[in-house]
Amino acid sequence: MARWQLVLGILGVAISIVLPALLGSAYWAHNFLVVNLFVTVAVMQNMLLADAGQVSFGQGALFGLAATTTGIVTGLWGYGYGAGFVAGIAAALVLGLLFALPALRVQGYYLGFVTLSAAVVFPQLLVAFDSLTNGINGITVSLPGLTQAGRAGLSWTSLLVMATTIAALLGHAALRGTGTGRRMRVASVSPEAAMTLGIAPGRLRFLAFTLAALGTGIAGALYVPVLGFVSPYAFRVDLSIFFFFSVIVGGSGELAGPVIGVWILYLVPNAILAQLSVYRLLAYGMVALLIMLAFPDGVVGSVVKALRRRQMRAQIAPIDLAAVLQDENAQARNTAAPTAAAAITVQGARKRFDRLLALSDVDLTVAAGRVHGLVGPNGSGKTTLLNVISGLIRLDGGEVRLHGAVSSRLPAHRLAALGLGRTFQTPRVFEDMSIWQNLEIGADLRGTRNHWLLHALQRFRPAWTGNRPDLLAHAQRRVLETLRMVATDADILLLDEPAAGLSAEERRDFATLIRFLRDRLGKTILLVEHDLHLVWRVADRISVLDAGQIVAEGAPAEIADNPRVRALFTGAADAAGR
């Protein structure tokens, strides 16, 4: 799916640089060099927005800073272009890190406003520090060695621009194939699910801003030989907005989107309104508005969506649980016989939200290799307890131990690395990855794709690689999320209402899966569930939570006969005397 976009993008870049040079059209050759520099920046913006989920309206400032720094070092201080190039990129990296700092604290429109402010302020500062930057007079840089046309009318500059832009496209595509790229997308879609897969979202945001600053910085440094002149006027806030709009118009997240987006927004007004440059701004504002109203997925995005809709009719192989359950690799997994040791110990857990005491002095022990059911009415604190154990919520008092070691002060992503897995009430399945990648993201935690589960499912790989999870029904998404957790090799599994939304038959299958996880794989399972029917059938022990306190604990038979528990669930005073 993505390959044709990559090919299309690279062809577009190469042709747009080579063809005008061959034809000897200086005007178009120059224009397309600028276009391709902008494409590079837009590719970075695309990665930042779609893969890392970061709204930055300030990429133009990074671009301008790199260009200005290169200009100063080369044009004013008289060092070679190489030194200027490096200095420019370094400056962009520093500013990129400054952008990433607020991103640790705030997201969405807050971050958008901060970066937009930076884009507004940047040219003002260039003017303010005119002793350093030459202010409004700008800096003229003459680099004849780089800009003179050589063979086939191509200069070193045009070759560098072409290489950079193609590298940016390839780099973006390559990033998506790596574990890091996948983790980035997971962290952007669902930070909390990411943490339970061992991912630290803040670190990936930093990485994304750094990568974007690198690419944008290179483009900015190349801007100097392309234009031969740097002035603050070129880097006003409009430029930043232009980069953002290019991504949206092309289609956020589509590999070829930035190429198409920049072409439409830059070339169309330039070609049609060449004589009326004042109309350019209007044209790109209107195009962005109309695209958002009519084709919210952007140009490439809409095409992709239409193609996918046609494909939707094709059926894909459903997730075959039997294949997993019968895999001989799985048989050998359960080496350790269930011991009496406690896998999870919660002691005196207390948690308060505002006026609500969600957990008051909860003690809970889950034996290794057992299924422990946790039941209770709505708002009794079950999910809070689960979030506490998985490290998503900090306790006010008390502690949690995993295999005897205190875990309640560690962040969620560390706990995941220690072998704690969890699922969520709504399955966290990542839509913009293939089904197969959704599984792989689990194995990524251990740094290997060589997981027995992936082998067991190998024959589904072709079908699952080519398809996205939006084709899967809810029950299959539930199974997919659970299998992904198995692929992390977690030995303690927390399941949050896995039966919700499953039909009676699907629940039976899920119960089989839970038993398989316990008996064959030796997993410890803490099961939060409303469906008591399921809990009676699979749990070895059950704890009943009410108003933040454990009110009963025991084997299923004891719990089912406990009058207090019966009254709790039915609200009937005579429940015991049936």
């Binding site: 604290r105 807050y110 500062l125 701004l281 209007l282 962005a288």
Partner: protein
């Protein structure tokens, strides 16, 4: 001492404009969770209207006639913008399209200004003479802006707590589902909120026209200052916007006075980052802001 007074008075005057933008943000934000990036250019349009209709030495009479006209005109424009902004939000799962549509609206207004008047900055003269306050000359538009900010603060307070329509908008902000269950037509009221924000910036732009930059590229700066004002006070709180606006105005005026005008925006940016890192919910804000 005299210098401090000048900074204080001018800062409060321009801060009142920021406060007005902040309040206009709040009206829309409270009803729909949308922050209108075009609000700064809408203010500039209000100023442009003053430039177009007022003669070079205007009388007080026409000024009082055109003030409501400016407010109503901008209300109509904002209603249209609001309708367009809400359009994709009604059907699509993508709930962030407003980031782009309102930014695009801002770009379009700036572009139209560029087409009609180039990069020139228009000047408007106030019909009211400047006056002396504690030994400092105060241009009338500064005082009028402050007065307008207080009037709008009072009006909004009355509207949100007394008028049935305003109560309904408050209800949307407090509990969207309960509001819909009560039969409140949310979509219409959201568009109305856009229109009200137009009344605010339309009147603010007109009143402050002599002291704001009426140019194609000044809107972004105003929208940022308005945002900083609203964030410092706590998004959604009009009292916060009022206090935040005055604070931002005085601090940025101090920076401009001490270091030069080109550092005014930089100081606001630093202020914004400081607030977001330290106390993201602002002075009077409630922690969790709800969305559309």
């Amino acid at each position: 001492m005299q210098d401090a007074l000048i900074v204080l008075v001018h800062g409060a005057g321009i801060g009142a404009v920021f406060a007005l933008i902040g309040m206009s943000f709040n009206v829309v934000f409270n009803s729909s969770g949308i922050l209108n990036f075009a609000q700064g250019n809408m203010l500039v349009l209000g100023g442009l209207f003053a430039f177009l209709v007022l003669p070079s030495s205007p009388g007080i009479g026409p000024w009082f006639v055109f003030l409501p006209a400016s407010a109503l005109l901008m209300a109509a424009l904002l209603a249209v913008q609001g309708y367009l902004t809400l359009l994709p939000l009604r059907s699509s799962v993508e709930q962030h399209s407003w980031l782009i549509t309102t930014l695009a609206a801002s770009v379009i207004i700036g572009a139209v200004l560029l087409i009609f008047q180039g990069t020139a900055q228009q000047t408007v003269r106030s019909p009211f003479p400047s006056f002396w306050f504690l030994g400092t000359r105060v241009p009338a538009p500064y005082a009028l802006s402050l007065l307008l900010a207080l009037v709008w603060f009072g009006l909004l307070r009355w509207f949100h707590t007394r008028a049935l329509t305003g109560l309904a908008i408050s209800a949307i902000a407090q509990d969207l589902d309960a509001a819909r269950a009560a039969g409140i037509r949310v979509h219409r009221l959201q568009i109305l909120a856009f229109a009200i924000s137009g009344l605010i910036v339309g009147s603010a732009g007109f009143v402050a026209a002599p002291v704001i930059a009426i140019a194609n590229d000044s809107g972004v700066s105003y929208v940022l200052h308005g945002f900083v004002a609203a964030v410092i006070g706590g998004l959604g709180s009009d009292l916060g916007a009022l206090v935040g606006g005055l604070l931002v105005g005085m601090i940025s005026m101090y920076a401009a006075y001490t270091y030069g005008g080109e550092f005014q925006d930089a100081v606001s940016l630093a202020l914004l980052v400081a607030v977001l890192m330290g106390r993201p919910e602002g002075l009077f804000g409630r922690p969790a802001a709800r969305r559309v």
